[in-house]
């Protein structure tokens, strides 16, 4: 399967290319997709997920248009061809 992880502008400088990471294999869930990111880009993963394995409080993760906070969190299923979109929340300033 193939899943696209779309990074926000703030993290694109950490990876080569345009900030879209194609992950495949056994992604299956958002957690699986982010673990695949971690294998090649650990600094990107660390900016999305804390040491406790939780999405950072001011980072939102969407599968398509749906925020995983209101779904199954990191266990939210992803289908082949899905887009996992990382975006900073509107908090901060």
């Amino acid at each position: 399967m193939s899943v696209s992880v779309v990074l926000p502008d703030q993290l694109r400088g950490l990876v080569p290319g345009g900030g879209v990471l194609e992950v495949g294999g056994d992604a299956g869930t958002v957690r699986g997709a982010l673990e695949a990111v971690r294998r090649h880009h650990p600094a990107v993963y660390d900016r999305i997920v804390t040491e406790r394995g939780e999405v950072r409080p001011h980072v939102n993760v969407f599968v398509g248009r749906d925020n995983i906070r209101w779904m199954e969190g990191l266990e939210t299923r992803v289908q082949d061809g899905a887009e996992v979109v990382i975006l900073p929340a509107v908090s901060g300033g």
Binding site: G13, R47, E51, R52, H58, S91
Partner: protein, 374 residues
Amino acid sequence: MPEGPKGIQGSAGDVVLLVGTTKGAFLFRSEPTRASWVMDGPHFPGEEVYALSLDQRGGQRALWAAPGNPFFGATLRRSDDLGATWSGKGDRPVKFPEDSGLSMKRIWQIQPGRDSEPRRLFLGVEPSCLFESRDGGASWEPVEGFMNHPHRPRWEPGAGGLCLHTIVPHTRDPERMLVAFSTGGVYGTDDGGASWSPRNKGVRAEFLPDKYPEFGQCVHKVVNHPDQPERLYLQNHWGLYRSDDWGATWRDIANGVPSDFGFAMTVHPRDPDTVYIVPLEADVFRCTPEAKLRVYRTRNGGESWEPLTRGLPQENAYETVLRDALCSDQADAAGVYFGTRSGKVYASRDEGDSWSLVRDGLPPVVCVDAAVLV
């Protein structure tokens, strides 16, 4: 778009002033006279910078910054050209072990180790923990004896979070070190960090039923002088103290100050009897008393304090100076510096006798550090 910062390009003898704010870091440089300052910044715009340090041990000029991105967390950056370039953009070297149950929120303190160990550095972080590097900052590990301290479940966060904000290495004994954090108080190790015990005897905790507990105090800052490492000064959340036995006992030295509440404290670079503070009115009104911006100085180890007001506003000055926003340089006469939550930075080049405004209009200042370039 304005051009980005280019660094401050100083020469030996110049003085640098590092200012961390809630929205980035600003670097200042002056010639040795310290008559005027040039500013460079913001570095890390939009990111909070609670810790800055210039480490000149071993012939290096390692400028360390701890920017915290409000979305993507805190990290550590290094510049070897006074801010022209920064390394470490893609790194995230300071992390808790995943099985610790802890997640790093902020780096509060960057403390170079002893002069005899130029590749050793320490960090104080939130939630309260001490990290150590033995390879010049390339890699970091939590000090396990502190991270796994049995008191940890009983440490409560203060208003600023559960933050380890103060690290005091013993300048003569490499096995000894003190840390201070809110809340928890002062803890010390005599065995190189393997074990830690509270050192809060005589320090009050106004906000607890037991006013003098073994630990749980909200200590705001501890300073000492390298030549007399075992004499300590402490600014508490209510209380101003001195210890002459490396923190085993503390005595009140709030002699003639308008309030013993405050955050910031620094010691003179050559005189262990001279200490500076900026008292605030109260925990419920964290502003300079009587709307006068006054630094207080003792020259006799806390037996008495004098207000320093020349060049500082003495009316309508509702200012706050936070725990790391007061420092001195090593020049002769000593320079003293502070920044306010209202974004002003003041400097004295005559040991506090008179002050001038270095800069206004910055974001809220959370830390300052100053050094003479060698």
